[in-house]
């Protein structure tokens, strides 16, 4: 229309206008990108960072996640328990027991550092995202809720065909082999008529050693 310098040298007057019209017309015939969210669920990639699930059996209360969290949105309470020695004459062990594990999703910025830093694979991303609340305090998810999110965590992606076998496989196979050998041995002993086999000595409660330090917390 108005004489404006054409960047591409000399072109037919009005060709720019026609090009603009063509773009809008072409867009109109294409499928729209709008997602009708509440009616249709979004097609999210499986590794979407929706919510964090806790697999609390793996948690050792090492507190790494809570310490690394930039928002300080992870709350962990625990206490120590003493477990009897596994073998007779062994030493008593102390173990951390999780009392509370909560993530405040009103503070969480979904950076995923807690999941990256967890050495025992107790935290996982879940693609679930519909947990809006009308009260901000309800966004603090306690451990039962975090456990529920765990069930929505998708299976890990398959390894590429030429990949090295994961270490977990070897460990699992080793333990399975050991169990199988043990069962075979037991079956063999059961089959052989061996009358009195001494019962394995029940681990007696050993005397607590007075000089044992209370797990580095001795005063």
């Amino acid at each position: 229309m108005t004489a404006s310098p054409q960047p591409s040298g000399r072109s037919f007057p009005g060709s720019g206008l026609a090009k603009g019209l063509a773009v809008t017309l072409r867009t109109m015939t294409k499928k729209t990108v709008t997602a009708q969210y509440p009616e249709t669920q979004p097609d999210l990639p499986p590794r979407t960072r929706g919510v964090i699930g806790l697999f609390e059996e793996n948690c050792t209360v090492c507190m790494l996640c809570a310490r690394e969290c930039p928002d300080w949105c992870i709350y962990i309470d625990s206490h120590k328990e003493t477990v009897p020695p596994a073998a007779p004459g062994g030493r008593e062990r102390s173990r951390n027991v999780l009392d509370r594990f909560a993530i405040d999703f009103s503070l969480c910025m979904y950076c995923g550092i807690c999941i990256e830093v967890c050495p025992f694979d107790a935290l996982f991303w879940s693609p679930e995202f519909e947990y809006a609340e009308t009260d901000i305090r309800d966004l603090t998810h306690e451990r039962d809720k975090l456990r529920d999110w765990m069930w929505t965590v998708p299976a890990p992606p398959a390894l590429v065909p030429a990949a090295e076998e994961p270490k977990e496989y070897a460990a699992a196979r080793k333990s399975a082999d050991r169990t199988a050998a043990q069962q075979a041995a037991e079956a063999a002993t059961a089959a052989r008529p061996e009358p009195t086999r001494p019962e394995p000595a029940r681990p007696e409660p050993t005397q607590p050693k007075p000089d044992r330090p209370e797990d580095g917390d001795a005063r």
């Binding site: 229309m1 108005t2 206008l17 603009g20 019209l21 773009v23 809008t24 017309l25 867009t27 109109m28 294409k30 729209t32 990108v33 709008t34 009708q36």
Partner: protein, 322 residues
Amino acid sequence: MNDVLDVALRLLVLLVAFLVLPLVVGQAEHKTMAHMQGRLGPMYAGGFHGWAQLMADGVKFVQKEDIVPAEADRRVFQLAPAVALLPYLLVLAVLPVGPGESGSGVHVDAGVFFVLAVMGVGVLGSLMGGWASANKYSLLGGLRTAAQLLAYELPMLLAAASVAMAAGTVSLSGILDGFQWWWLPWQIVGAVVFFVAGLAELQRPPFDMPVADSEIIFGAYTEYTGLRFAFFLLAEYAGIVILCGLTTVLFLGGWHGPWGGDGLGWVWTLLKTAVLAFVVIWLRVSFPRMREDQLQELAWTILVPLALAQIALTGIVKVAIQ
């Protein structure tokens, strides 16, 4: 008695058309614009693809408080929306939809004159609103409206005069009676000039400098709320219907069509009007707003010479035929 019934029926049809057609255009704009931008547009109101969106908007507008600014020229301010809307109703009444005497609501001999004069009054609504609002943005919008009206009324009149010359009459139905298919290429330049000038007069994008919402809020309509604001919006869409209908009647042969008898003439008129309305929406989606000086330049240096050339061509061909 029969006459009374006839008049009542015509008035009813006219009123229904005046209330429905702008809303249809508005809804079409919502949806077309959305799809041209890769969106869906309204999807909820009314259930099926948001067909009742504009009715819902209307209900919302009715509920709003009608505010008149303290410093405003009260009477003029309140009158302006009606001045903007009613002329289009009058034009719709004389627009011949089908062939013959019964094809239009009212038969007016000097149809072209009447229509163009009354359409010019419609713009007066914006001027009144702009001046009476006592708001600098409204005033700027009003003045830009005035400048635009001044610049684009001339090419519009010249283009319409060209058709009137070709038909040898200023009656709208007379022009349609004389229409031949080869008028289309003959008057095509005039048609484009008329359509573009009409768009500018309606202040539709890309000629929406007077209401440029990103720089002068909403031009002359800045201070309006509620139903009066809705009237201005309705006037814009009624204006689209009228402009497209008028272009159809003057340049595209109105109820003439390759198929169907005279009984189906109104279908052709509506169809052509709808296609033109789509073009109006299409232009709005595709082009950015023109600057004020570009607007004036387009009118005075391109449209007016083109319209004059069209008149010269019309005259030459007319003389050659005779």
